[in-house]
Symmetry: C2
Subunit: 409 residues, 2 copies
């Protein structure tokens, strides 16, 4: 009799964005004329840059000619892309990497989800609360947790609360942990750490032989000085950190699919005898066994993001979204709300009025002013009482949404 | 201290195709003028069909315009593709499927590698021997095996020998197994099962509440009648089977990346209490949590395979490869070798002369006539004494390779 992976059964049935979709669809059925504005899911709306489109089409043409056709590429990606990434995203910040430390993938979701496979089932894991649900769910599926409690927090996981008191910045774990998921600029709160603050985490990891799984999917939205774009700007991070990056929000690749993961050769994990093993080699083994590389035209498209024209167009798009972020942030502040984020990130994390539950506020916002956001509780117990809005809408919708909140609520 | 997944350490360090590449590179360094013909790795050489190229470019253009831009799509793929697949690959063969039973992915390698996650760690697994290494390696990584013996066979796995005596067709397991990996047309042997033969496996699975993981990546190469293209042509298979398909070999997508997996809603696995759970729901949970869907232009490209022009072009390409297969098969037979496959599959599985070891034959073939194939031992203990050639080369190289074998060995 084929047995199920019982760890899958620990997960609640409904995923955050499915539940939102269900509520929105029900509301639309009951109110077919409602002019709904969606500032919920973190999906972009601006098209691919022209430079990216042209490069990708040229690569598709290559695939149609026997002389230039490409079959299987390297599972870890083509060096024309990994070297371009290094030259543009890392070298200018003083971070030295070699192409075999950069693994091209179909996106940061896959990589942040799959990377945990390299670790033993008994590692202790710390996550922030609130948190991007993928880190938690994938570790539940892999059997590194017990069951959830009434707050939805899983036994054995170490939750690091991000609250109004600590300015949404987690404090170091009080007990030993082996793996730490950090995401800065943060999803959902939009806050960032300074270099000094991030260094405390690197120092903790070095002292504890822990690994930091650093999600930098939103680094291109950083505007302020002294905010690290990569954890490898921090001394010693090459020994203890892995970094996930994505073209999704940077260059509009949510539907095109490309990201990458940096695994320095110095990062080690340990077996029961205390012998060390290279995470870089383990990830290479995982990717060559379970993955067949990213579509060649998509890799060409990603490389085109770094051309002069590509960079100019990407900057315009990010400026556009960050102007949305400013409009949301300042509008909400003027309306009297307490807000986080929106300065170095496309997310604005607002406190609900009068300690209202976040799903209650979701329903209120949808029904009274027809705006869809994301309830903070969907990101963890400490997200309760908060609400996430994103800057990825159109300018017109963003302006209209804030106007509605300011005048009708 | 972060601990490694010790199951990864059970795997031998070097993967089959890396070892081949190493030997070929060394030979080339020592013999820079050698005119090497590669009939080893199963990669295609014919370009994408024009219909696919044109459709994909149009989709890339859509991504460059705000009005037609697409961000995140459904993780399980767009219905325009899954419905097209059903209408073309299944309905004409009398197999009824609904779009939510078809999951679009970046290829059959990812899916055959990841699908085992849904199962408990104590399931007993049967694989043929020889076998596509991904089935074995991913179950080793997941902890469902012990250590390998001196033949490279992992403890706890049930190996089903495919030998000259049984015509490379495995016989049913003599002990109970929970999961069975089958691949027909087979990689590496190229043999197929008749409907009656495949029905025995479906019946076994129904009696034992086992699951058949059926890899049909090569179904488009089937030429003979009474060879099932899908396991779902067999009565009762909807209750016990999952099927993996790929556009890689069918339409030249090895570098473009698209495949799909069919998970009927009737297929169940069981928890410790004996309660059943839908594999379809579990796979949906896995994919929505760990995957973000296939690139939109790639899905449009895959749909174009099914247009009238696409089908015509794909048929021409497959005819081309199958003519190569005929040339290889008949040439080897004329040269006195015992061969399997090459009739309904792009693989020709030959017995080495005089019981020569398969790596020894690899070296001999490379050094004496400069042809690179794949040693059978790379596919399992029972592959020892065999050698795989593929029909994916150019016509010219295929003809030259067989001529060399016939005249110079």
């Amino acid at each position: 009799m084929a047995q199920v992976n019982e760890d899958y059964l620990k997960l609640p049935g409904s995923y955050l964005f499915s539940e939102i979709a269900r509520r929105v669809n029900q509301f639309k059925e009951e109110n077919p004329m409602a002019d709904i504005i969606r500032l919920g899911i973190g999906d972009v709306t601006r098209p691919l840059p022209t430079a990216v489109v042209e490069a990708m089409k040229k690569a598709v043409d290559e695939m149609g000619q026997a002389e230039t056709f490409r079959g299987y590429g390297p599972e870890q990606g083509y060096e024309f892309l990994s070297q371009t990434i290094i030259d543009n995203d890392f070298t200018p910040r003083g971070v030295k990497l070699s192409p075999d430390e950069v693994f091209i993938s179909d996106g940061a979701k896959s990589d942040t989800a799959n990377f945990q496979e390299l670790f033993g089932v008994n590692n202790t894991i710390a996550v922030t609360d609130p948190v991007y649900p993928v880190y938690v769910d994938t570790n539940v599926m892999a059997g590194r947790t017990g069951f959830p409690n009434e707050l939805g927090q899983f036994e054995k996981l170490v939750y690091l609360p991000c609250t109004e008191e600590n300015g949404m910045k987690p404090i170091l774990p009080q007990t030993h942990v082996d793996m730490i998921y950090l995401c800065f600029p943060n999803n959902p709160s939009g806050v960032t750490l300074s270099k000094e603050e991030l260094k405390q985490w690197v120092d903790y990891a070095r002292e504890n032989q822990s690994i930091i799984l650093f999600d930098a999917a939103y680094e291109s939205f950083i505007r302020e000085e002294n905010v690290p774009h990569s954890i490898f700007e921090i001394e010693g991070a090459r020994e203890v950190a892995v970094e996930f990056r994505s073209f999704s929000k940077t260059a509009g690749f949510t539907g095109t699919r490309c990201g990458y993961t940096v695994v320095p050769k110095e990062v080690k994990v340990y077996d029961a005898k205390g012998e060390d093993h290279s995470l870089n080699s383990l990830w290479l083994r995982r990717q060559t066994t379970k993955f067949n590389g990213v579509s060649y035209p998509v890799q060409v498209a990603a490389a085109a993001v770094y051309t002069e024209e590509g960079q100019k167009q990407v900057k315009e798009t990010i400026d556009y979204y960050m102007e949305n972020a400013r409009i949301i942030r300042e509008g909400l502040e003027q309306a009297g709300y307490k807000v986080f984020g929106g300065i170095n990130a496309p997310y604005i994390w607002m406190k609900t009025p009068d300690n209202m539950g976040s799903w209650e506020f979701f329903d209120k916002l949808m029904k009274e002013v027809n705006i869809v956001g994301t309830p903070g509780a969907g990101f963890g117990a400490n997200g309760e009482g908060y609400f996430r809005l994103t800057a990825f809408g159109t300018r017109e919708n963003t302006v209209r949404a804030i106007e509605r909140i300011k005048t009708k609520m």
